[in-house]
C-alpha cells in the first residue's frame, strides 16, 4: 500500500512537471534547433508525456527529420495524426520523411487523405498532380490541375504543368493556351517562352 502511494505521487509529479514546463521545454528545444543541436532538442522534448501530447509528437517528428532519422520522424508524425485524426499539418510533416525514404505510394496516400479532409488544399493537390505527371498518369494529373485552376485560374505552376501534360497527351492547342497564361503571369519565364516557340 505504501508503495502504491509512492508510485501515484511520482506519476502525478511527472505529469505536473510536463504540464507546468511544456512551454519552457518547447522554448529550449527551439533554441537547440536554431543552433543545429537536434539531438539535444529531441532529448529536451522527450521530458513531455508523449502519449497524449500532439504538439510534442509533431515537433519530434520534425526534429527527427532534421536529425535525418526518418524512421522515427515518420513514427512521431503518425502518432500525432492518431492523436489529432483530422490534422493536416501533421500529414504535411509526415510527407517529409516519406519523400526522403522514397515511399512515394505512401506520399500519394497522405496527399489523398489531406484532400479528403480539405478538398481545396491546393498545394497538396498540385503536389499530387506533379507526382502523377512524373508517373506518366497524365489524365489523373490533368483532373487535379483542372480543379486547382477552377479556384486559381491564374496560378503559374498549375498552368505550366497542365501545358506540359497536354504536350504529352498531344493536345498542342490546349498546351499553348495554358503555357500562354503561365507566361502572362510571369513574362520573364524563358523556359515557357522557349517551349511555346517550339510548339
Amino acid at each position: 500500500m505504501k508503495y502504491i502511494f509512492i508510485i501515484a505521487i511520482t506519476a502525478i509529479s511527472v505529469s505536473s512537471f510536463a504540464q507546468g514546463n511544456s512551454v519552457e521545454v518547447f522554448k529550449t528545444s527551439y533554441a537547440y534547433e536554431a543552433s543545429g543541436q537536434y539531438q539535444k532538442a529531441i532529448s529536451t522534448l522527450e521530458k513531455i508525456d508523449l502519449s497524449s501530447s500532439y504538439s510534442a509528437n509533431l515537433r519530434l517528428g520534425w526534429l527527427h527529420y532534421l536529425n535525418a532519422n526518418y524512421l522515427k520522424s515518420k513514427s512521431f508524425y503518425t502518432t500525432a495524426i492518431k492523436l489529432k485524426p483530422s490534422s493536416i499539418e501533421a500529414r504535411l510533416g509526415l510527407i517529409y520523411p516519406l519523400q526522403v525514404m522514397s515511399n512515394w505510394d505512401e506520399v500519394i496516400k497522405v496527399y489523398t487523405a489531406i484532400l479528403s479532409i480539405d478538398g481545396n488544399h491546393t498545394s497538396s493537390r498540385y503536389q499530387l498532380a506533379y507526382i502523377y505527371f512524373v508517373r506518366k498518369k497524365y489524365t489523373t494529373a490533368e483532373t487535379h490541375l483542372k480543379k486547382i485552376l477552377s479556384l486559381y485560374p491564374f496560378d503559374y505552376n498549375s498552368n505550366a504543368l497542365l501545358g506540359s501534360i497536354y504536350v504529352k497527351l498531344g493536345k498542342i492547342k490546349e498546351a499553348k493556351k495554358h503555357y500562354t497564361i503561365a507566361l502572362e503571369y510571369n513574362p520573364s519565364a524563358t523556359d515557357i517562352s522557349a517551349i511555346l516557340k517550339g510548339l
Binding site: Y3, I6, I7, T10, E46, L50, A68, N69, Y70, L71, K72, S75, M101, S102, N103, W104, D105, E106, V134, R135
Partner: protein, 453 residues
C-alpha cells in the same frame, strides 16, 4: 525500498525502450547499403531481419532485402520484401522486375505475367518472357534414311509431330506422333508411335515426369528364295566312280506380323547450378501377333557314276511349313542421366542397366551440346545397343527393334527468330538385320521446325 527503486527504474526504462526500439535510420541505411554494394547477402539479411522487427520499413530497405533474398534463391522471402518495396513506391521498375522474377522462379505463372506487363518496353524486350500457353509449341520433323546396301534394305522415311502444352506453371504435357516405314528384301514395315510425357515441376530445379511411349509395328513378309546346288566335276582317276549331287532348295515367307509395345518410364530430375541429374525406372512390354507361314523345301538328287554310266541314283525331298507364334517380351530398366554445363558447353551421359529375358545389359549414351551463339547450337549423341529395346530423352525416342544398332547423331539448331527454330540432323547408323543376318548402313537427314506460340 529496493524493490520500489527497481520498479521505478524499470518503469522509466520501459518507456525509454519504446522510444528507442526503432533503429536509427542513418545506421539502417548505411549498413544495408554497405552490405548491398558488397553483395554480402547473408549479412544484409541477418541485419535486416532484426531491423524489420524494430520497425524499419522504407523503399530502399525493402528493395535491398528483397534482392538479397532473391540472390540467395529464397524467392518466398524475396517476394515478401519486394511486395513491401512496391507498396512503398510502385513506380520503381527495379522492384517490379524482381517481383516478376521471384514469381517466375516460384512458378506463379499468373502473377509473373501481371508484373511483366508493368515493365517498360525495353525491359520487356530484354527479358523476352513468353507466358506459357495451353499449346506452347509445335514441332514438325521429316527425314529420309538412305540405305547403303540396297540388296537388303531400301530407304526409310520418318515423320514426327510434337506438341508441348503448359497446363499451369507447374504442369506440362508433351505429346508426339512418329511414323516410320521401310521396305526391305523380305517385305516392308510401317510403325506408328505415340509419346506422352506429363510432368510436374516442384520448383525450377526439381521435376517429376512420366514418359509413356506406345508403338504399333506392322510388318508384311513377302519373300522367296530359290537355289540350286551342283557338286563340282570329279578330279579323280579316269574310269573311277564318283558321286554327283544336285540340290534344289527354297525358302518362302508370306504373311503379316504385328507388334504392340508400351514403355512406361517415371523419372525424377534435380538441378544443382550447372549439374542436372535424373534417375528413372523403365518397363517395356511388347506383344507380337504372327500371321505368316514359313516354308522350307529341299530336293536332293544323288547320282553315282562311272564316266557317263549311272551306277545308282537316289532322290531325297524335305518339305516343311511352320507358323511361328507371337511372343510377349517384358524388359526392365533402371537408369540415370547426368549432365554438366560449363560456359557454353554441356556434356552428359545416359546410363542404363537393362534386364531382358534373364539377360542383363549395360548401355550408355554420351551426348554433347555446344551453344555457339544465341542463334546457333550444335548437339550430338552416340549409342550402341544390343538385342534389347532402349529409350532416350525421357522416353521420347524408343528403339524397339530387338537387334544390334549403332547410331551417331549430329544436330544443328538455328533460331530464325525467338519463336521459330530450325533443326537439321544428320545420323549415321549401322543396323543388324535379323532376317538376313547382315549389317547394313543408313545415312539419315532430318529437317525439323519448331514454332513457339
Amino acid at each position: 525500498m529496493r524493490r520500489l527503486t527497481l520498479y521505478i527504474f524499470f518503469m522509466f526504462l520501459s518507456g525509454g525502450f519504446i522510444l528507442f526500439a526503432q533503429e536509427d535510420y542513418k545506421q539502417v541505411d548505411s549498413v544495408t547499403y554497405k552490405h548491398f554494394v558488397n553483395e554480402d547477402w547473408e549479412k544484409l539479411i541477418e541485419f535486416g531481419e532484426k531491423t524489420t522487427q524494430n520497425g524499419a520499413d522504407y523503399f530502399y530497405f525493402n528493395l535491398r532485402m528483397g534482392i538479397a533474398y532473391f540472390k540467395l534463391e529464397d524467392y518466398k522471402s524475396s517476394l515478401e520484401f519486394l511486395t513491401k518495396a512496391n507498396q512503398n513506391n510502385s513506380y520503381n521498375k527495379i522492384a517490379v522486375e524482381y517481383l516478376f522474377w521471384s514469381n517466375y522462379h516460384l512458378l506463379k505463372e499468373k502473377e509473373a505475367k501481371e508484373w511483366y506487363t508493368q515493365l517498360d518496353d525495353s525491359t520487356q524486350q530484354r527479358i523476352a518472357y513468353t507466358p506459357n500457353k495451353k499449346l506452347s509449341s509445335i514441332y514438325l520433323e521429316y527425314g529420309l534414311k538412305l540405305a547403303s546396301d540396297r540388296q537388303f534394305a531400301n530407304n526409310a522415311t520418318y515423320l514426327n509431330l510434337g506438341l508441348t502444352h503448359h497446363l499451369t506453371g507447374k504442369i506440362a504435357f508433351v505429346q508426339a506422333y512418329t511414323f516410320n516405314s521401310q521396305s526391305l528384301n523380305w517385305g516392308n514395315y510401317t510403325q506408328h508411335q505415340y509419346y506422352a510425357n506429363p510432368s510436374y515441376l516442384f520448383n525450377k530445379s526439381t521435376k517429376l515426369n512420366l514418359g509413356l511411349h506406345g508403338s504399333l509395328f506392322d510388318g508384311v513378309f513377302d519373300f522367296l528364295w530359290e537355289g540350286t546346288y551342283q557338286s563340282p566335276p570329279p578330279m579323280g582317276f579316269p574310269g573311277a566312280s564318283f558321286i554327283d549331287t544336285l540340290a534344289d532348295s527354297s525358302y518362302q515367307i508370306n504373311g503379316t506380323y504385328k507388334e504392340l509395345g508400351l514403355l512406361i518410364e517415371p523419372r525424377f530430375t534435380k538441378k544443382w547450378n550447372n549439374i542436372i541429374t535424373s534417375g528413372y525406372f523403365g518397363f517395356y512390354t511388347s506383344k507380337g501377333q504372327s500371321n505368316y507361314l514359313e516354308t522350307y523345301y529341299d530336293s536332293t538328287v544323288i547320282t553315282e557314276r562311272t564316266g557317263p554310266a549311272i551306277i545308282s541314283q537316289s532322290i531325297e525331298v524335305n518339305d516343311s511349313t511352320s507358323q511361328p507364334v507371337g511372343a510377349t517380351i517384358n524388359q526392365y530398366t533402371i537408369g540415370m542421366d547426368f549432365s554438366y554445363s560449363h560456359w557454353f558447353i554441356t556434356a552428359g551421359s545416359d546410363l542404363k542397366f537393362i534386364l531382358n529375358d534373364g539377360n542383363s545389359n549395360f548401355f550408355f549414351s554420351p551426348y554433347l551440346k555446344i551453344n555457339i551463339s544465341e542463334k546457333l547450337q550444335f548437339s550430338a549423341y552416340y549409342f550402341k545397343k544390343g538385342n534389347y529395346a532402349i529409350s532416350l530423352f525421357e522416353g521420347s525416342q524408343l528403339f524397339n527393334y530387338f537387334a544390334p544398332l549403332t547410331r551417331y547423331s549430329l544436330t544443328t539448331k538455328y533460331s530464325i527468330s525467338k519463336k521459330t527454330h530450325l533443326y537439321l540432323t544428320y545420323q549415321y547408323e549401322s543396323v543388324f538385320d535379323n532376317f538376313n543376318g547382315v549389317d547394313y548402313r543408313l545415312n539419315s537427314i532430318y529437317l525439323g521446325l519448331k514454332f513457339k506460340l
